[in-house]
């Protein structure tokens, strides 16, 4: 890999870079490309049935993109937060491409073939989740970030707290609320709960 990218990524995570509001914007494209490449390299030549751990991908991206000696725990956590968002984008992009491929640009893939049925399903779920997350972010952006970290990045509550610079307790409440709200939004309200 181009050593420059590693240098640039690391620079963005070094102490002192925290105050830069554009940091996330700058990190995203770098991590996005790395994650996308990693995912494909892992699956290259494999038949269906292989697995892809997003947590592992995010950690591998970290090893490849960041010079660990130059960053603190905070910088590291920040990277994982960014990587989680990038992971979301990578997966949603794949879902979109799948949808587009199936329907010539249409919204929802539908298939009768059992193997692709599973893919259709996750693609649909991801696209729905993506939309719901956007909606959630309009209410409270932090809630959406917590979901990205926990679900897409596979981060622990503590890692998420570090990444978002809030207390673990806040993450816990945010996560509970976000999950409830998303469940509500995506699966419908439990019976009798609606007033």
């Amino acid at each position: 890999m181009e050593s420059g990218i590693r240098d640039r990524t690391t620079t963005l995570l070094e102490p002192g870079a925290e105050g830069d509001p554009a940091r996330l914007d700058a990190l995203l494209p770098l991590v996005y490309e790395e994650l996308r490449g990693l995912a494909h390299r892992q699956l290259a030549g494999e038949r269906a049935g292989h697995t892809l751990q997003t947590t592992a991908l995010v950690h591998e991206a970290y090893v490849r993109l960041v010079d660990d000696t130059r960053v603190t725990r905070k910088g590291r956590a920040y990277f994982f937060g960014a990587a989680a968002r990038a992971m979301r984008q990578v997966l949603v992009d794949h879902a979109r491409r799948h949808a587009a491929k199936k329907r010539g640009g249409g919204a929802r893939p539908v298939s009768l073939d059992a193997a692709t049925l599973a893919v259709d399903e996750i693609a649909n779920e991801l696209l729905d989740l993506d939309r719901a997350l956007d909606e959630l972010a309009r209410r409270n952006p932090r809630h959406a970030r917590v979901v990205e970290c926990r679900f897409f990045g596979g981060l622990s509550v503590e890692e998420t707290a570090d990444a978002l610079d809030v207390s673990p307790r806040t993450v816990k409440y945010d996560w509970a609320l976000a999950r409830a709200w998303l469940h509500d939004s995506l699966r419908g309200r439990p019976n009798g709960a609606d007033a």
Partner: protein
Amino acid sequence: MTERLPPGAWERVEQLFAEVLDRDPGAREAWLASSEDDPAIVAEVRSLLASHAAAGDFLERLDPDRVAALVQAGGETDGVPEAIGPYRVVRPLARGGMGIVYLARDDRLDRDVALKILPGWLEADPTARERFLAEARAASRLDHPNILTVFDVGEAPGGGLYIAMAYYEGETLADRIARGPLPVEEAIGIARQIADGLAAAHEAGIVHRDIKPANVALAPDGRARILDFGIAKGAGAKTTRAGVRLGTIAYMSPEQTRGGTLDARTDVWSFGALLYEMLTRRRPFTGDDDAIVIHSIRHDDPPALADLRPDTPPALTHVIARCLQKEPADRFADAVALREALSTTAGAEDGSAGPRGLLAELKRRHVFRVAAVYGATAFVVLQLADIVFPALGLPETAMTLVLAMVMLGFPVAIVLAWALELTPQGIRRTKAATRAEIGEIVARPARERWPSGLLALFGTAALLLAGAAALGWIRLGPRGGPESGPVEVTPTAASADPYRVLVLPFSAPAGDEELARMGRDLVITLGATLDGLGELRTIDGTTVAARTASPGPSGTAVEGEELARELGAGRVVRGSLVRTGSPDDGTPEVRAEVGVFEAGSTTAAVRATAEAPAGDIGALTDSITLALVRELWPSGRAPSFEPHALTTRSVEALRAFLAGELATAQGRWRDAPEPFARAFALDSTVWLAGARYLDAMDYSSRPVDPAVREAIWEHRDARPERQRALMEAGRADSLSQLVAQMRDVAERYPDSWRAWFAYADQIIHNGMFLGETQEEARTAIERAVALNPTSSTLWQHLFWMALADRDTAATRTAIEKLDALGADSTSMAEVGLDQVRLYRFLHGLAATGDEPDPVATDSLARQLVDYEGPLDLSRLGGEVLAYGFPRGETALEERTLALPVPAAARRGALRSISHALAARGAWDSALVVMDEYVASASGPEPLLLAWRLAAIGQWLGALSAGAGEAWRETLARGPELDPSSRSELAWLDGVAAAARGDTEALAEARSRLAAWTASAPDERDTVPAAHLARSLDALALGAAGRTEAAADALRELERDRAERAWFRREGNAHPYLTAVNRLSAAGWLLDAGRAGDADPLLRWYESVQFPAWRASRADGTLRASILLRRARVADALGREAAAREHRARALEELDLASGPLRAAADSARAALGL
């Protein structure tokens, strides 16, 4: 769900949710129930709590198997979608940090596009997405040959942002460089194109931010196009600010690596880096690591070009060095300035040091040619001397003398050849000059400006040449070009006229609005002062201004070269403006760099610099004119130069004048007189403002003091020639003379939209009365529109012409243009009426064959009913009918009647319905409605109007004799009519009498008219009673069986009426006079076998007339009859297609025909084989 929550409640929901979560599951409900919060908030928390309990392992884990399946299935290895948005994907073209590019097909427009799909991270937050879309759309408005055209920006239905761009075969500049360094000429050629494109963007306020070889596409024909405009910026204003981005950093400016604020100068830097790489095949700043590259960008000088590429012209080296200055302030201000410098480079190249430059310069100055001619001549001279001298018995010393002279003469001839070419292409600076100074300089022979040493040599050489010439053998190659007028340029484009000059807007640094405005104004002012200098003719300034307007919604901006070709200009004047401070007193000044280019050439044939105080457009115009005159006419042959007409010392006056010019060019006629009058008041030498003032007043139908009109007319010589020509053409004794003169002026100044419009206006409104054709009118107005697509007036006229042709494609275009120009620009907007709505309605009728759409009808009716402006809209009724849409008219008026309307509008509607019914052939029903109208009105006028309909119905044979007799009797008993109505009544009586063969009554009507003919005043506003009398005389002649003589009398009468061009008012007073005269005459001529004479008589109804008086024109009721008669004429002339069309249209209108009209309709149907 949460939608019913009050604003700001979500925060409270979060708090409550967190608190309740801390409690025991069993105690939660009780805690919630005791809450004093808004019940809606509590309910929301309760609901979330239930979901929390039900969520289970929801979102706890992302299934790795399914993720793998998805990535594999959606992976780009096989992930080419079939379609994205409206585009069919053909194959992937490229992949980069900024996304994937596909070759795709737009089936709707049948064209290939390059479709770029933006990567997902761009979409991460909605504001970034919005920003991207806004920027990309702004970039898509850049219309320039050196910028890749962006067709479309959008979101595919399945999500994902895409950009559809023009697709071309070819390679990128990066590919080209990879094959090796470029030859200097090729590099400059490409650089110029890139600078051109960048300049256009910078002028539009758009910065690229990612100029690099990979972002420049090269087409096989050599055209360079900049890619990814707006994308880089839109994609990451922040990204670049943070100093980090995808792809290479090699072309980043120092400020870009620091994350500083970026402007056009960052592109100037990147451009320098790119140019450097084109020449050397290496990047100016390199390193093993990005950090080293960044350090180098910030601190190092690039390796010297002279070492890497010794044949780089010094001027080019200088341009690159200036681009790569670390401080933005030390670089060119933007690509506009850069482009100027590059074109200078080319000029300096020739004269630059080094063998290449000298050689080229020697060649250019014909030195070799002179040397060769001299050598050959010397040889002949010496040979002859050798033969002749001994024969004459001259001593040998004579031979030696000749030999010495020939040898001495050689260097003299060479120096002379060099010196003679000194002036035309040299670069000179000229300070602002007064008119006196200009006159002086022009009068002074150019020779005086030659260095004195050369003049001494000139003397010697002249001696020698005189001797040689006496022998008759030497013919020194003269300087090329014609003997008079500008000398040094020979036209290259075959059809282009070298003396026709196109002045393009001068460029100004991005963001400097004042200079940009000056640059645009110069098109008009410089165009005016250069026009008529010697043989020079400039392309109409307002045409250029309209065509080069920044690409607005109408997308009218065109490239200068294209415009020059289109308008037949052989030369183009381009320039740029910059601000300078005068060194002595620090007053702000503007400096103009001007070049005169041969069409198609990128090298200036003549260059000049001029300066003037900032803001003084008059001084700047003078100064530039003077500078150009000096350069174009080097040898004292300059034409006398009197800055006239437009050049005024009063900047205020000029500003006002230009404001008026803009208003008229856009069709805002009512806005125009004020600024023109102001310009004139400020500086009474601006006589052109006076002329324009008259135009604007006349066009907006406002009265002008005859003394003012006469004064302006008297000073017509003070105006540019074309203005004088137009003005003189406008004064004519007859309509046919007027039309011919207007046509002549338009053909003489084919680039003037004013000239074409003046001509078109005359035929559209009046020419058809003379038998001019619809095609002619349409061609003329199309010419005008092509020259000035920014004028709503022109588009409106085109709309009317297209509507008469039932050309719905053209009417649609016209409506779109009017929409794009904005409702405010239509002439009716001045009186608060959205005329486009009426146009849409008419377009719909034309498209459906007069089947009114209920929604459009309702919308228009409501607008008319709600109208609260100065216009009497009851007079607008009938307009739809006048265009031949009686069903549309009926529907519109019926809809109006269903709305709560004032009594006047109600009466207007009834009257229009009555006319429309008559037009459809239902004359009896028309009379019933007319009766209702008369009952609702009072006074003699409605009675006259009703009687008019009844009398004409009888004349047509559609009504039986005696119809409407009651109205006629009431009229007779009523109060005295005004003279005009009284004579019309007599005429109507005569027409009705002629129809029923009552010669006695006809004679009585004639004698009544004859008595008034002597006494009635011949006023502009009324039809002379004499004309009515002549009409009745002819009808009597016809009734007596002398039909051909009657027809000729009527033809002559109509000719006279048309020539007097008083139709606008006559039509108002006597709507049926024209129709009765012409239909009668045409019928009789047809019977006499003279269809050719009948044909031009029947074209008048196609003419467009002003709404105010078209309103009461009831000719519409006779349209079908006119069409059927035209069909018969077409039959007689063997024009089958025309006959069919006339019949079909007549039948379209005659859907309610009864009686004789029914029979006529049936026979028409039979003729069509229906």
